[in-house]
Symmetry: C2
């Protein structure tokens, strides 16, 4: 049963508490991971094979799977699934193509040239979990922005339980343009990508979801490589006025709740009747769903309906919560865009349920969690670029600027800075 | 005396080692900082005052300095310094204005609307060290991009030794458009900005340099707020062909070396004669510089001249080193832009010495260190924004996409995702 708060004051307290929920990493996990990382750093492939044998119950003959084998596996997939995957990839590509920034330069009459160069990272690693949580959609969402950013080589790591890779994942890798695939998982895979081994190339950034060992390895290797955000438990917040449909609302709350017993699903509404109808719908619909057990637990522990005085109050609460996913089910949903300050992805109207964004519409589904939408952004093409600035000055332009620079450097006591201008002023 | 490597093989080994140099944070510092953070979180202003008294030798009557007092202090600065500061600010503003990204949306004929909204962060905190390392240029470099990004309120924290703030810093805060200034420093200042107190507003991101306590506090609070990079020791790498001027090269190497005994200054050149002349110039010029002692130590410990076979070889080495600052002193410097893959800021030609970029030309001086230019970028307007995507679909558009979404959700075993589409397909 979902809890219902009858006013925003209580609701606000609850939402603040929710942000604190997180999976604590035990000291044992930290220590185990740091040992794995060290061993992979020193022994390379040998360590990867050893850990794969221990944790995945087997090691493939070749760590890297060939293109032909990937294609063979992909051809075993349901053709309708493949077609859907391709259409999703097209939408995702089109959306992310609009994010691409261009290098630019500015040339001045005095001969000065200033600019900013934008390049894709050289090589990126994408981690893809195997087993029950094998999500081809996640391959598309991580690889496509990297491809559009101009990353030269996209390397995927995914564990193959008993040596057999997941065909849907292989299909998604082909559709998304992944360049090389290594059948390995866990902290050892992350470490191998960060350092490189004889058979695995060293990457510049590692992205993608994973279990606590994968997440901890990424965190520990941050700085050696760049990483994406460490995702906290997932969440949805729905704003609904009295025009919303409780059947849809309940379905959408559950689509988030089914991810994980730690997932959170919150409804903010101005209508007491809608609050009660949605609560009843949750009970009715969840009974027929295969992941009913997870749904019931996450709804019980981290779900809530909060009745607000007005939509303005609901919007204020949503901005404080800064949710990963925000649905606006209201009469004039577009009016809300300008009022929503903090949210990863915003779903407007009765026909933009969260799964539309998870799979298909085009925006990324890798989003900031736990209220970090206040300052973090969705995964994007910008996540896979590096920028450099450049400066060209003529002798005359430096002469003109020289006294100012000397003055600023001396004010900071940095006399060798001033000296590097002065030796040029003398000539 | 600077060490000279006569070939790229030895040089490459040395450059790899250099990347590993870093200031280790001791367990004691970690523990002390985490205690300060916890106390500020719980006791707010009281804890800030207590620590200011203990570490800065005094607490100002009011933590916040008023605008009039800032203006009074600023008016005590050298007018030539103020004029130089304003000209620098103008250049920095103009460069960063070009970085500003726009929100966009795409409207389709079927009524679908997709978009990406870009907003400045709500509130940003800028830490500015006091004492001997009081750098007004750093105020400009951190505050101006935030201002251009549209940050609503820029809050500065800077310690006031014996209660007296640095006038140059106050002047820079006024020029850069800082909104509020609090006279506090250290880990307590960082914690106060991250959590907010009765008198200090809570911010979304904290940027700016600081000592080991400040850096450790930022690292520990990452996630509660966003932070900028944790800067490693600073570095310059100079590429020089036989046309370069050894007097300039030596001056530029020292302008980096004077920062800190951990700073690194490297010259890669194709000319043995130039290598030797530059080494001699280093000795000659350093004798007359006020920070000679620091310069000599950093040049001895982390400086080197590496003689390369060709400029192509030198460029390859530079790309591997991925330096924070890269100077190209060569006959046709512009030809190198396309060949430099990894560098924070690139200085082209004989009249673009590093201090030109540190203070004046326009690009940011907050740059990725320790080889992280492979995947990190200079501080920019992008560092102060947050993005949200948004999706609006019509009933018909969702009907058209529905089967694909259901198929993808079911392939992942996420039946509640499929259900949220199905309840809408039924209507």
């Amino acid at each position: 049963m979902i809890q219902i708060f009858s006013n925003a004051v209580e609701g606000r307290c609850y939402l603040e508490q929710l942000k604190q929920r997180s999976r604590e990493t035990g000291k044992e996990v930290e220590a185990a991971v740091s040992q794995i990382i060290e061993k992979v750093r020193v022994k390379g492939d040998e360590a990867v094979r050893e850990y794969s044998l221990r944790f995945d119950g087997g090691v493939p003959e070749q760590l890297e799977i060939g293109r032909e084998e990937m294609e063979r596996l992909s051809n075993t997939c349901d053709p309708d699934f493949l077609a859907a995957l391709r259409r999703a990839a097209k939408n995702i590509s089109e959306f992310h193509a609009r994010q691409k920034q261009q290098s630019w330069l500015e040339t001045r009459e005095d001969g000065v040239i200033l600019g900013q160069r934008i390049r894709g990272l050289e090589r990126v690693g994408i981690y893809v979990p195997g087993g029950t949580a094998a999500y081809p959609s996640s391959v598309l969402m991580n690889a496509i922005p990297a491809k559009i950013a101009g990353v030269r080589e996209i390397v995927m790591a995914t564990p193959a339980k008993n040596g057999i890779p997941n065909p849907d994942i292989m299909a998604a890798a082909l559709v998304a343009g992944v360049d090389r695939v290594f059948l390995m998982g866990g902290a050892q895979a992350v470490a191998a990508l960060a350092f490189g081994t004889n058979s695995i190339p060293k990457v510049d950034k590692i992205v993608g979801p994973g279990n606590i060992f994968v997440a901890t390895a990424k965190k520990q290797l941050y700085g050696t490589v760049d990483i994406d955000m460490i995702a906290g438990p997932s969440e949805i917040l729905v704003l609904a006025d009295e025009t919303a449909n409780p059947v849809y609302l309940a379905a959408d709350l559950m689509s988030q709740a089914e991810h994980d017993v730690m997932a959170s699903a919150i409804l903010l509404t101005t209508s007491v009747a809608l609050a009660e109808q949605t609560a009843a719908e949750l009970e009715r619909q969840s009974a027929g769903l295969s992941r009913n057990e997870i749904i019931s637990r996450s709804i019980r522990d981290f779900g809530a309906v909060i009745v607000c005085e007005s939509m303005a109050e609901a919007v204020a609460l949503a901005n404080e919560a800064a949710p990963e996913h925000l649905e606006v089910c209201a009469a004039n949903p577009m009016e809300y865009i300008g009022r929503i300050n903090n949210a990863g992805s915003v779903f407007l109207g009765n026909y933009a349920p969260e799964p539309l964004g998870d799979y298909y519409a085009g925006p990324n589904h890798v989003l900031p969690t736990s209220g970090t939408a206040r300052f973090f952004s969705p995964l994007s093409v910008d996540s896979f670029i590096k920028k450099s600035s450049f400066i060209y000055y003529t002798k005359e332009a430096l002469q003109a600027a020289g006294d100012d620079i000397v003055r600023l450097a001396e004010a900071e006591g940095l006399t060798a800075h001033a000296n590097s201008i002065r030796v040029r002023q003398k000539d």
